[in-house]
């Protein structure tokens, strides 16, 4: 492995540390008695896109869809058309299963695309090794161009 790989790995470990959901108190797998009902409910809350949540004001900006975003949408609709998932299973996977941090941190269609890849692995249409091999292959092709 090259030293740039080590740099990337160490930078990644640091970044993940900064991504901890902010509870603003120390948490290291606390004892059950240290978790109140209120905290348990907050931790296990399924992340929704159904609204009604408190937030700070954010700036509204109009953004046109990029080609990869439109392709992602079409791919996900094809997966539904071929019976791989329903809209509800897609929503559950891309909103809830990714967790609060990724839900808020990743681009909207980024979550769609990741979820499309994951369901193909979960339902055993491809193995994770095949997917990783493909990612490596595309990375190499990208580096050469």
């Amino acid at each position: 492995m090259s030293s740039s790989t080590r740099e990337e790995v160490l930078r990644h470990i640091q970044t993940v540390g900064n991504l901890q959901p902010a509870l603003h108190k120390q948490t290291h797998a606390p004892a059950p008695t240290e978790i109140t009902h209120t905290l348990f409910r907050a931790y296990t809350r399924p992340v929704h896109d159904v609204g009604g949540e408190y937030d700070v004001p954010i700036q509204w900006t109009e953004k046109e869809e990029e080609v990869w975003e439109l392709n992602t949408f079409a791919t996900c609709e094809c997966l539904a058309w071929r019976g791989v998932w329903s809209a509800e299973e897609r929503r559950r996977r891309q909103n809830v299963d990714v967790g609060q941090t990724a839900y808020l941190g990743l681009p909207y269609y980024g979550r769609w695309l990741m979820t499309a890849a994951l369901i193909l692995v979960d339902k055993q249409y491809v193995t994770l090794t095949e997917l990783h091999d493909k990612i490596e292959e595309v990375k190499k092709r990208h580096e050469q161009s």
Binding site: G52, E88, V96
Partner: protein, 122 residues
């Protein structure tokens, strides 16, 4: 390695040429509520999945329409379509949902769909 059984044509078999939710029509039994009923939204567990908005839980609204029969989101999210339930369109006063809602907009309402297992007679 054994493959997980997954018949991806199971939904197409019942919905092709009919549509969804039309393919679940008549499968949820008798509806428990009718138009005009006052209903209280139960605060059921939302562990792993739910589409019933947190902000409607514990609030009282009025049934304005029986919209369709369909599997609950909680079941459909794992591709289980065996138990369709009635969905109701329920209207709430915004003032009943948001403690800080201003009196100037006191007549505002919110209408949303809720499955039967979340409702009880108010």
């Amino acid at each position: 390695m054994s493959k997980v059984e997954h018949d991806r044509t199971h939904h197409a078999k019942i919905a092709t040429g009919i549509g969804d939710p039309q393919c679940f029509m008549g499968k949820a039994g008798e509806a428990k509520f009718k138009v005009g009923d006052r209903v209280l939204v139960k605060d059921r567990s939302d562990l792993f999945y739910s589409r019933t908005m947190t902000y409607t839980r514990g609030a009282v609204g009025t049934v304005v329409r029986l919209v369709y029969e369909s599997p609950a989101a909680e079941d459909e999210a794992w591709d289980n379509t065996d138990n369709p339930v009635w969905f109701y369109s329920v209207v709430f006063s915004q003032k009943d949902l948001w403690p800080e809602y201003h009196d100037a907009y006191g007549k505002d309402t919110l209408e949303t769909e809720i499955p039967e297992m979340y409702l009880e007679k108010a």
